[in-house]
Symmetry: D2
């Protein structure tokens, strides 16, 4: 069955389809493709856009003429394929200079360099049309908390974010920031470990209105957290500026598997949340193909990510239209006229009335919620037997 | 060696030393003691204060005269021992009425009852002098996300918190709220899974200034998160209103072990943070004795919690005074006059100057940070061989 | 859609459908049913058999006449419904006497009592026709390894198993043992944490031929392990005497959810293994309904377990008949005539020939395995869109 | 304080002190040293021996003359420093040919090549005196169980081990095998995930007497398992042929930290087990220095591993000599003359006598075990305040 991906803003980073299959225990299995080649590959599979770290596009030591050459070829590929660049980001983790962090390094030289590199990378992203700028501080953390004071690290991180929001304003860029949390790897412990930490951190910034989050499935799963709940909080706060879709078993190394690869049910609940709340920013598949694959396998991987999203979106419609499920949900959350006076804005009288009300605890407790039934029906929708 | 606990505000909940050793696979091993008896036990071991859920003190179905009797005996025990009640909280999880949550239940009757119960419990806490009121929403969550919309749950939770802060203001209580996160257990997934999520949630409330957090070691460890970093963020935000100390292996059921029982090193880094930042609110040992223990063992447990804190606080002084460690840390974070102009408030000129600066990446990267040495010296301080 | 459960030996323990919804943070939500009532409930939902711990059937302090009465009613219910009792087991964890273990307790009185209790429970199981006897040593472990020597614990455990196999032989019982591993909860660490540990332990017993394993999905998932691989090893060793089906997120408290509740894909791979290898011993759903449920919900839960197995068994047939998938698998594992001489029994000449052979590493490495495609097709079979 | 390492067989792999600090998110931070240089470094810090994978010593494409040159320099370094090579192993994971496994690859060419490579690597190890040969099957596993049948994989793995034990016998090598388990990374799931699985697997081999295990702290910790219990089972089975010491937080990526870096208490219990049972095979520190370090930091790392072991070994002596702890332990496990007749070999009479005995469950259950006290005293020994 074919799916029309054009109704969604499906994007891939250059580093995802461009991943060469190396890992800590093994060498590259796929030859490196140029940024332009990767854009053509993404065009072939039907993606909407492509994202990049500065150094995915331009090597850190590229000369101006090398940079120019690469950018020209990349631009042409974008034009040829119709792909856009909705998001860009900075690589603040690969180079040895960041061995102990970038914005939170103890070394002021490193912190200053990180700012410089990010300003340049923002310029590059904006040059290609990015309207979302992601921050993933892969090296902002510690192995041993003897080595660095965490409160100071928060302050350093905030200083950097404040500086960079001002830089964006000063340059009149149409750019919002999206902060991406991760609990660990490559650092033993990364600061702002969860999307919740990031949402809280944002509120301490000078320009919180410019800053949202970029939650990633795999990152919350590494901590064994319910990703859908993290995303729901971001939605509730109006902060879901971008999202990274992939998959990952709980409590494991960073796996970055194809969307839905590990757990179709949790993927379904996520898609349901995004569809129900009409999420319309880009959905970026921040994942890579297995090490067993060649570039045909990379295309299988990329198409699989998008197909799974579309299949699950259809299942969401089915779930929302399922009369049996919806009847139970409606019954469970039915308004109760006797209770209505107790909700809404506080008043002294309301509190007094509520305190005076007699609840029949046993009767209320005895209500059947039929959650086993709802969940089993959900499973059967997912399995296509309903 | 003896330690003087009186310099710290060490508290225990009635439910901690009063835990009877039951678990999902086993019956009580210790007979239940009365609240007053538990206060005397805490007095004997040298605690500063005692905390309670409403139903730790008063059974949910206590008659007014039963309640009076219990309160009188409890008050007398407090007077006899000199213990105070710095914190109180509501049991919104044990009774079957809360089987699908309290503030986030789909059922408006349950939500209303939860508000009523909390208002009464606040009154009770204030009656005994509590200035901190903790919220742990043990049933606010889902097993299956088919059963409840998480965004709606956030809204319900916020409505409850807003109502209750108004209630406190209306009554002129000197009371602040402290929200306690937990990722799961007893629910499959609990909303606001981490302290970070709670800090973010607070910023969406009507009276954020009245609301802080009560992080608990075990709860963040269940998600394999660095607890010290979570606490650091709360400190950084001025929101560390209370703290629950205990211990727990990562990725396991809720163990609530004696402070320092599992990992002395992570306990040390936590104590270091609290001491370095002069934390002076109560430190509550939210833990219980092993099932193998009688009440003498419960006292061993309680004394052990406090002793370990004091021992680690001494180690913090030693660490802070260790010339070799401090020299490395100072060297690593030394200011660099060439960099100073790039920090502080943003300006167009500053950005331009920074962009124009040439960094010698390789030289900066080559700096030795001596983190293996710092961490090993820390271990040797902890082991008492330095 | 209806499924015919009668082709499978689906069983439930009395403790599963009889679970009253209590947990460490909450009281019972369902009233306790008698063993006979539970048998009728299981008959209604279409189960094949029922299992029990001694004290599920007979309270630990039951008088002979009480026991007789209960057994008579239970027998009648079995006769009325046609259910059988394929498996029985001992409760060696609930009573306070087992607070520090049963067979591995440091106290010889406890070890002796555990043997006595198990002999009696074996008699009871055999009385009702059980041919499999499960051992789950829920209290055999430690919180702190300062309290007990683990090697000694292994010896104690072995002594008990040897004694009890002799008891079975001596009595001429047609009974095999199945050992069930769990990594933790209720103990901080349980000995023989995984099915692998149990398989290894069996080989040190006097009668290994009488002893196999009873792997449980949730228990291996608590350690984040691939359950299918554990079961495969048991199958490979001829030791899969029984299996406990349920579900559980990785790295969490013991959740005992409905089969397939958390992860349909891992459930599918498990069913595939069992079906492909024609597993024909009982499949026991060792799980319980959510705390939100009444007994109608318990029936939904029980039916859901069995339905999910049957649906997945159908998917296994589809997978095995899928020409595209099977072609890739066949291609990947095709025999190579040049290699055939190198396999099979060792010989000096074979080793020499193999050492002399020149492999073209790059060409071999370049083969595309199409694992992304296989896995995505599997997902689409599971989702019912293929 | 200085420690004398010469009483222990402390070894390091070439890949440990030779690790250049690269990880999936970052480039090398330390330049690569030659094998000979690494031996000198190990000599400087006081190690007993050095281990290697074939390709740590000889690049996979080394010409005979290159190989000769490297071996000569390596031999000289060994002679100069007095270091020995107690263990060697095969790299069956780095080259792309092993992208889907070595011994368990679906491709017979890969399986044959893996045998060939291992025979050559065994020859190389024996040439340098190795008496232990480790097998770590880093690529033997799956991401998706749709791609490979696990039972077949076990058979392939067994065939390889049987072939290779015969090879060793045929060549008259004085060499034993030690199998090393790991649950995941770099594969999604690795077969034989725990030491328990390996011990069970060994019993299915043709020459189990030649094969033991090489447990690694970090690998069991990745699955959140108690490492000491895994090692105890290996000791109990006479299979602890080798051990890999390092450290790692539970449920995380493969961290390979300095021994004792994460959890001094679990390291203590491990050292206690090894010392109490007079383990005398090599103890290999399979770890690497932080990415923040230069080669001086690598030496700090290596010395720290050994110092921590020695410090903990001293603590073991103190624990074993602590009268208060030992008195409690003795009391808890005291023999009971009334029970003695019930233990030892089974007999019909013994079973009958035991069944007839009346146990006073409540009295036995009421015994205080003082485990909180034992554990707190252990903590205070560890902290050096007792």
């Amino acid at each position: 069955m074919e799916y029309d991906f054009s109704t969604k803003k499906f994007t891939f980073g250059l580093w995802t389809v461009g991943n060469t299959g190396a890992d800590p225990f093994g060498a590259n299995v796929r030859e490196k493709l140029s940024p332009a080649d990767l854009v053509y590959l993404l065009g072939e599979v039907g993606a909407y856009g492509v994202n990049f770290h500065d150094n995915d596009l331009l090597p850190i030591d590229a000369t101006p003429s090398e940079a120019n050459h690469i950018k020209k070829a990349f631009r042409k590929a974008l034009d040829d394929t119709g792909l856009v660049v909705p998001m860009a980001t900075t690589n603040l983790f690969f180079d040895p200079i960041f061995k102990d962090g970038a914005f939170t390094s103890s070394d002021p030289k490193v912190r200053a360099y990180a700012l410089q590199k990010t300003m340049n990378a923002i310029d590059l992203g904006v040059e290609f049309g990015a309207e979302i700028y992601v921050f993933w501080g892969g090296r902002e953390g510690t192995e041993s908390d003897a080595t660095k004071d965490a409160v100071t690290a928060f302050k350093h991180n905030r200083e950097a974010m404040n500086f960079l929001t001002e830089y964006v304003i000063d340059n009149g860029y149409n750019l919002r920031f999206a902060l991406e949390a991760k609990p660990n790897e490559p650092r033993g412990n990364i600061f702002n470990a969860t999307t919740g930490n990031m949402l809280a951190f944002i509120e301490t910034l000078d320009h919180p209105e410019m800053v949202g989050v970029n939650p990633e499935v795999a990152h919350e799963h590494m901590a064994g957290l319910n990703f859908t709940h993290q995303v729901a909080q971001a939605l509730d706060a109006g902060k879901l500026f971008h999202i990274d879709l992939n998959d990952q078993a709980f409590g494991r190394y960073d796996q970055d598997f194809r969307f839905g690869m590990v757990n179709l049910k949790s993927a379904f609940f996520l898609v349901k949340l995004l569809e129900d709340y009409h999420y319309s920013n880009p959905a970026s598949f921040d994942a890579h193909a297995f090490r067993t694959e060649d570039y045909e396998g990379v295309k299988d991987f990329a198409r699989g990510c998008m197909r799974t999203y579309m299949i699950l979106a259809d299942k969401v419609k089915q779930f929302n239209a399922d009369a049996e499920i919806q009847a139970i949900l409606a019954k469970n959350s039915a308004q109760d006229p006797a209770m209505t006076p107790f909700f809404g804005a506080y008043s002294t009288d309301k509190a007094a009335a509520l305190k005076a009300y007699t609840f029949d605890r046993k009767t209320i407790a005895a209500r059947s919620l039929q959650y086993e039934k709802i969940d089993q029906l959900t499973n059967e929708i997912l399995l296509g037997v309903r």
